[in-house]
């Protein structure tokens, strides 16, 4: 730059190497946190068990290969995904164990405010692992409950009857419920599972943490306007 005119990129060169390093590290931290919509480094209180994480990732991979569209066709059947260039997120939210009764269980899934405010949910699926009880299929009532931001008034967002055939993983689409949750400024989804008669724990929850219920969601940064291309 001409003498006396300050050049932004040259500023670094005049700093001592240690100062230069501190400046760059501070820039890196600020850049990553702002791109993740995080006000500060998250304080991780209860990291997920490695077994539950590996089981969930394995389950997701199986699910993806089962439902993968043939190569060359976008997942939503021909529409070019308008999210090109927009930052997307894949979220795994593991259940906080709620209240247990002999006929059912309540599970809570919590999403951060930053995510709720700056993204839109593209897809959300609840994964539940059932324990075998004999060979008959069993009816299970699944209620998605939403509480308002104060957490007091709880409403039923949807109720589904699931016929649980046998032991193993079952999935339920909760995309609508999570999106409307975000729309109401709340961040906690409660799932209530109720069985007809005394089944004991209908879910393998607490017995082995590797089959912990979880919600797998895909979200995308909200952009001011969106151009759909066909």
């Amino acid at each position: 730059a001409p003498k006396g005119v300050w050049c932004p990129a040259c500023g670094l060169a005049t700093l001592a190497p240690t100062v230069q390093r501190d400046v760059l590290i501070a820039l890196a931290k600020q850049s990553i946190l702002s791109k993740l919509h995080l006000p500060d480094k998250p304080n991780v209180t209860q990291p997920t068990s490695r077994r539950a994480l590996l089981t969930a990732l394995r389950r997701l991979r199986v699910q993806r290969t089962d439902t993968a569209a043939p190569p060359g066709i976008p997942r939503d059947g021909g529409v070019l995904h308008p999210g090109v260039g927009v930052q997307e997120y894949e979220i795994l939210s593991f259940a906080e164990s709620g209240s247990f009764t002999s006929r059912g269980v309540r599970l809570h899934f919590r999403f951060t405010r930053e995510l709720a405010e700056s993204t839109e949910i593209l897809q959300a699926t609840l994964y539940l692992f059932w324990v075998a009880h004999g060979t008959r299929t069993r009816p299970v009532t699944v209620r998605l409950l939403q509480s308002d931001p104060t957490g007091l008034n709880v409403t039923v967002a949807s109720e589904t009857q699931l016929e649980v055939p046998r032991a193993g993983w079952a999935t339920l689409d909760v995309g609508q419920a999570v999106q409307s949750l975000f729309g109401r400024g709340s961040q906690r989804l409660t799932v209530e599972l109720e069985v007809a008669e005394d089944w004991g724990a209908p879910l393998l929850v607490g017995h082995s943490d590797s089959h912990w219920p979880f919600v797998a969601a895909r979200a995308r940064d909200r952009t001011p306007h969106r151009v759909q291309r066909r």
Partner: protein
């Protein structure tokens, strides 16, 4: 080459690796172990203006001759990223959910003169 050497003065790419363990971020960032925060630095004399990294074509060379001969007409030229790629992160958010995302244009692969 596009990477700065010890005494490079021309526009080039400076490597700088931020190790997440060193800055105490390894508890919430599961993968990767660090961030290649490369940046561009160096001089862009007028005859170098408009050379995108190494891809100097015949057209660019002619354009530079014109510029160099009309130095007073040309404006300053800056050393900027010409190729970038996303930073893929797997991390815990504040509710201990696990999030995977690709932050676009975070890693500089090549530099060049505007």
């Amino acid at each position: 080459g596009i990477d700065c050497g010890a005494d490079s003065r021309m526009c080039c790419r400076k490597e700088f690796f931020v190790d997440f363990k060193e800055i105490g971020w390894e508890d919430w960032i599961i993968q990767p172990e660090g961030y290649h925060m490369n940046y561009c630095a160096g001089l862009c004399p007028l005859h170098m203006a408009g050379i995108p990294g190494l891809a100097a074509s015949f057209h660019t060379a002619v354009l530079n001759l014109i510029k160099a001969n009309n130095a007073d007409a040309a404006v300053d030229s800056c050393c900027v990223p010409t190729q970038r790629r996303p930073l893929s992160l797997l991390y815990y958010d504040r509710d201990s959910n696990i999030v995977k995302t690709d932050i676009p244009d975070m890693i500089v692969d090549a530099c060049g003169c505007t």
